[in-house]
Symmetry: C3
Subunit: 135 residues, 3 copies
């Protein structure tokens, strides 16, 4: 079973999609299997991060902002703006696909794990995420 | 088939689980398929690294220790100690899930590849790793 | 269905394999399913990156060259040369496996996504990549 989700981001940062992915698993009727999440973009990515304390997500965003900064004078791929090339690098360093086992009809996430779309562009985007559930 | 493994780490560093994952594949009876390993935590992660020379794993650990150091004054998520936020960042930069094809009833790992839990916290932890084998 | 591809690289950089993976999907007869790509090495990795403008791939390579440089005096794993340990680190930070849903008999890649083997060693290598297609 494959479902495409449309995720509207509001610019840089983590946008949680755990409940939407869980909903796909429920509707699939899968009891024991594997759920794979895939993002169809190269300037946004996926991550599983702590879902409890928002300060962890804040620090993660601040850290990558310093670590792969906009305006690096070495960049030549700048036609779409200063946030374009950092987005590609941040995507390469994080995940384009995540696979999560399904147990008892639910994602086998740990207590503190949430699934997030990580938007790397400054402006709001509509991102397409494909969810596959298999046995 | 889904099995949960309990992995006891001894603090920061790579803890090999290749043989335990291989054992799950053997007991599944799968000949050709896909094995997915998933870690249910956000302060430890998974990696496939060289299994021959321990100096590679030593250098990897030293490198990430310098690269995402403890005590970064920009961190605000510090309630659990100075190794907490670096753990989340290191997890985001490495893998929460790994998928390895199965051929001839065995993981299709290369000669020098081992599967490791990468503990990012200072102290020993009990980590839960879920292994799914599908066809 | 599992197929092993042999990929000849020409030293550091991204080597596209999208069409070869798509060809495995076509020959599998899979309509809706999941395609997983796995690289059997620890000094080359996989990534999905922009397939349109070569400047994005150029900047990505330049960035990682600065970020995980050769000749770091902290490295002890140097027997195979100055590009050996950086290769392991670059592999740990990128992907050893990628899972892409299959829809309508084709990989559900976004318009600008291509699948690449990322060679991290200086010299040309023959890399083995395993492709699994499941339902």
């Amino acid at each position: 079973m494959v479902v495409e989700l449309t995720v509207r981001t509001r610019g840089k940062g983590l946008h949680e999609i755990t409940e939407r992915v869980e909903s796909v698993v429920r509707s699939s009727g899968c009891d024991v299997g594997l759920c794979t999440v895939f993002i169809r973009h190269t300037s946004a990515s996926l991550t599983i991060q702590e879902n409890a304390d928002p300060s962890a997500r804040h620090d993660l965003e601040q850290w990558i902002e310093r670590f792969v900064p906009e305006g690096d004078p070495a960049f030549t791929h700048t036609a779409e703006g200063p946030d374009d090339m950092p987005s590609h690098i941040r995507s390469a360093l994080t995940a384009v696909s995540l696979s999560i086992p399904v147990m008892g009809g639910r994602l086998a996430l740990g207590t503190w794990q949430g699934i997030y779309v990580w938007e790397h562009r400054r402006s709001a985007h509509t991102r397409r995420v494909v969810v596959h559930v298999g046995w």
